[in-house]
Amino acid sequence: MSNKKYWTSLDELNQTPLYKEQAAKEFNFKIDENPADENAGTNRRDFLKAMGFSVSVAALASACKISTHKAIPFTFDTRKAVSEVVPGVADYFATTFYDGNDCINILVKTREGRPIKIEGNTDSPFTLGGTNARAQASVLSLYDVTRLATPTIKNKKSDWKAVDVEITDKLNSIAKIGGKIALVTGTVSSAITKKAIEKFVAKYATTTVVSYDAISSYATRKANQISLGSSIIPTINYDKADVIVGFNSDFLGTGISSIENTKKYIANRIPTKENPKMSRHHQFQSTMTITGASADYRYPINPSEEKQALINLLAAVGGSISGKKALSGKDANAGIEKVANDLKSNKGKSIVVSGTNDIDIQLLTNAINGVLGNYGSVIDTSNSYNLKSGNDESLASLANDLNAGTYKAIIFLGTNPVYNTQYSEIFKEAIKKADLSVSTADRPDETAQFCQYVCPDSHYLESWDIITPKAGFYSFLQPTISNLFDTRQTAESLMVWSGDTSPIAQFVQSEVASITGGNYQSAIQAGFFGNILAGSGSSANIAASIAGVKTEIVAAKGMEVIFYEKVALGDGSYANNPFLQEMPDPVAKVTWDNYVCIPYSYAKSKGIDAQPADKNVPIAKVTINGKSIELPVLVQFGQAANTLAIAIGYGREKAGRAGDMVGKNVYPFIKSTNGITSYSTDGATIELTGKMYELALNQTYHTLMEDNSLPLREKKYRGSILKETTLAEYKKNEHAGNEDREKIKEEFSHSLYDGYKPNDYKQGHHWGMVVDLNACIGCGSCVVSCSVENNVPVVGKRQVYRSQEMHWMRIDRYYNGNPDNPDVSFQPMMCQHCNNAPCENVCPVNATNHSSEGLNQMAYNRCIGTRYCANNCPYKVRRFNWLDYQAVDSFGKFNDGKRSFTDTEAQSYMFEDLTRMVLNPDVVTRSRGVIEKCSFCVQRIQEGKLNAKKEGRPLKDGEVKSACQTACPTNAITFGDQNNKESAVSKTFENSGRNYYVLEEQHFLSAVGYQVKVRNKDEEPAEFFIDKPGV
């Protein structure tokens, strides 16, 4: 082959200046992505390639219908100074996830204009980059096909003009005759919505604003009115507490501002060699939550005894209160003493907190904290929340008034009281009777379906807003995509009805400018403004608090029932999000359902199998004050004796395809006492119906201790999977709980095969991960984040029942100790990227193999789906595409996507084009019949490496973060390069005495190190056995 260059003109031959200049001009726009090789010319091969490509494209184009109008051309004009959308490059927008309970500063990753992933905003002083599962999953809700595409009048499509005219006319005529208007809102922390409501009220003076929370903290505010003189919810600095005592408070999971609190909590929970110190967490609770699971000591108590327990505790720490009486539980009695001792020796460095919506209980915790002097140090009353500001009493009086027919108009600002209050029937009737009924729900939900007008709100990723979770801290929302449908923000609707038609964007922008003193651009870019200043505030008035407590205790009748909130589904508003439905409950490990939790002792007495291997559980009929409901039974270890627990947020009827008829609705069972909503009740009975139920459990065996139904054999504890120790032991020996590692290392230093040297991946990168079991609280944020990042499909209830779920990472939950009150451990588990991987050598077609960087990788296109690798994976992290989940393969016509999630052989939420917009374009969708698994987010590694290469520098540690790592609110997961001696991962591997590898003695040489879990306990717990029925 000749490399001759032919000249086309004498100028070219002589390279005259004129020629050079013109030649340079010819293709003069710079594309920094593809630095062109100056010397390369078109040769014959390239020509033939191009020719072949164009001919085949032409052939394809003439043969197939290609919908080019949907594509973004690659020939985007990059000469512009500011590129808006560069295909293939993600843009991040700072905004805020807000739902009344949580306010989380987030970054939204958009690709080609589509939001596809939520990341925590690490700059935020408020949430410090943490996210929860709800925030992670919320991006899918944007593409929910159930959302209304236009406003509706009497459930028929309409347009804004018509709707606005009719509503304003009706409002005016009602206002003219002095008819009352009810505005039913949730917690309003939005400065914009607040202003809009003010405007509305100013225009229509007969308006009553009622704000309520489906899961209320009203009693806390009410109690603080007595103790502190103002109805606030103060900030609790868990990081400053050395002793934390929780009473039915799920502050790590579903409590107020849980990410902020989790960050603070975990700051004082990781002991190190240099500083072997951690707080001690006691938890008194009726059912098991992730907060209880994280506690060092946990005491089951009945809800009716919580007040007595607090009275006893107050007396024990030196408060002047009478009425001390022994509790029914032996553990709890001893616990009170132990806790009191711990509290007394940590005055000013402790906290007692209750999540119960009861004024007496809240007053008692205030008194205890006052006696202990925790105000000003741990409790910061000068920084109080604007979250959870619903008022139970005004909801109750609204219900009364509605019953009396007082209101002519009723407007629901996204609220759904027909579903999520006990006043369902009253609201239903009132809506029907009212002259005007409007809902701003984004879908025709249980309430909106009866309303005359539905004015759909935009999704938060399409919205402008300013949220003030705490006074002085502003968190901004900006649209990350223009409205997908003809929707309008609620605040804008209110303003329009109040006669102000200026666009909301302008309004928000001017507000932001005035808040920030003109720094609009940088404030919106940051996503927040202001700082969280540590304050102190006043202390509670102890005497007033105690005086407010009614000390008489009403003994509970029958069984007690707790209505609790799940980490994923909350009050039920997330019901149509399949990611959250499929996220297993962190403790119960159930997906797609609610159920009645029964204590182990009760199960034993009734002969109910506590861990049914086949996931078939009995159905029980629970009768509460005459009303009954049939629910599947789940034996919850650690549930207090004589109590039942049922999750609210299920049984939606009008949520959408994923959420409808999943579980049962128990809101109708919730009662108010003296206007305060109470989430527990007594007088319940339970009986087995004899029917069985297929529960979509995703873990059926609950302990590392082997089954005691096996005779002839000593029971063994699988200690090399999850290692634990106590703080006392750890202080003595940093290898505590991990002593066997030395022996394992020594054993593997010998080999039968002299001279055999396995690849140790010492060249280039060698990726590794560290998971700190002490930090993991089991919240599940990583599971959802991984699914969103890697296009992991949702499979639905039936497939989970068949154990065909697809999660690339899961959180294993193991119980240890007494089954009536066990210790709980969480273990995030994903592909361990073994250097000696058992999956690799068994694949007949080489579809899975090891990269030079130590990654165990999958070639999906090569996989024929024998599942041999999955069988041979000791960690059971390989997942098989059982069905056509992504609607991508050639047999798609069998997947019509029209069937519901609960039955069906072939269904896929990814069937809808709209939903598919959430797919991450950097990660290929997998066809039916191939194996997939955690890739260590190889697309992120690749992106990081390319960025470093473009900038001509080595990759920095922490530059590449896996999706699970970024989502984790406790920084339990660290990813990095083991070959970089300065990386956090290799430092931990080298130096931490707590580091171990799961099943290390089997010599799989995994790349994921775990850190021994340390509990701040005085002694090791006893062994855990679950008795089989009849044993």
Partner: protein
Amino acid sequence: MASHFESPLREPLIFGNKTYKQITIDIVKPTTGKVQPKWLFWTLVSAAFAGLFVFCITWEVCFGIGTWGANKTVGWAWDITNFVWWIGIGHAGTLISAILLLFRQKWRTGVNRAAEAMTIFAVICAGQFPIFHMGRVWDAFFIFPYPNTRGPLWVNFTSPLLWDVFAISTYFTVSLLFWYTGLVPDFGTVRDQSKTSGRWKFYNFLSFGWVGSAKHWERWESLSLILAGLSTPLVLSVHTIVSFDFATSIVPGWHTTIMPPYFVAGAIFSGFAMVLTLMLVARHVMNLQEYITLAHIESMNKVMLLTGTMVGIAYLTELFTAWYSGNIYESYAFANRAFGPYWWAYWAMMFCNLVSPQVFWFRKLRRNIAVTFVMSILINIGMWFERFVIIVISLHRDYLPSSWVYYSPTWVEIGIFVGTIGLFMTLFLLFCRFFPAIAIAEVKAILKVSGNQYRQKQLEEVKNQEVYKNTSVEAGTWD
């Protein structure tokens, strides 16, 4: 082959004073004449089940493996259980035709044809499972090491699944050749009996124009011996390699060195059980009692007693090894087999395979047709459970308790399995109708030694000899 001396006290293998002509008539008869309603009925029933197989496979391929109960933990379940079961069943045919041929066991002539046919059909059934258990069956050809433009991208020679591909394709090819070779002279016989030209042409084609010359016979004998020699190692190797699927893995309960001998013994065990099930029925339906005699049945029962006990010893050795190893995962795997959620499968296996064949220590029961039939069914069930125990019970609880699951089959899996039985029976019934079900030439070869009238003559000749004076055996007391 048939010329060496045999004790006149030996039981004859052919009854009914058969002549060469009578043998021809008896064995060719079922292939001619009118279709029997009984045959038609059972063929249609079997074909209906074969249709179920096609339906269930179509369902599975259209929707996906998710229509099965297999799951994240139990990646192989009924599919591979059935595969190993069917492959095992095939082994009796090869053993009878190859090893027993080399050992000059004359009783094999009565059953070898049908047993070989069974091998072919069983391997056909077995072959469905590795193919259709693949998630992407349309890419099944990836498993062959063929030259390609992807690099070339080669298969993974360290994977036992690949070894399976070679082992089973070799096995099928050799078995098919062997079977067909045996059929060639018999096709010639059937041709010679045919009364229509179409039939004549058909069987003439199948017999490759066999004329029965000495040269033909000589070559035929040589080829048979060569193929027998080739098949003999296959009897041992095929199931050894199938067992490597398990033995080379790291799953507790799979990873044991006992697997190859244990699998081979089990395969022969189940194969003989299936041969007996089929032959007892065929003998009755096709009136072949004079060719498939109690002597045949007894011989096969002896083989089952031997192999069943070998399998039983393997079961007990496994338990011992698991306990003695001190490995907590290994010892749990076996404790869990016996006392875990699937205890019933384990004890069904133990009862059917280890306990029940012990009845064959008694001659009376060995020669009892009803007992033999029941036992053959029990052993078929037991051997299916053995594979279920090995595959599903080992997988469902391995290292991490968090991933332990319970597996139950769906209607699709059940339909596919039942369907392969239908497919198998359809093929076998077609075989009985169109092919000579007993090797005519080979039976004729032993007639002069093992036919009852010749044996009787022999006995009479030797009756007065000193050696036989004290024997109590009288001619005609065989039953």
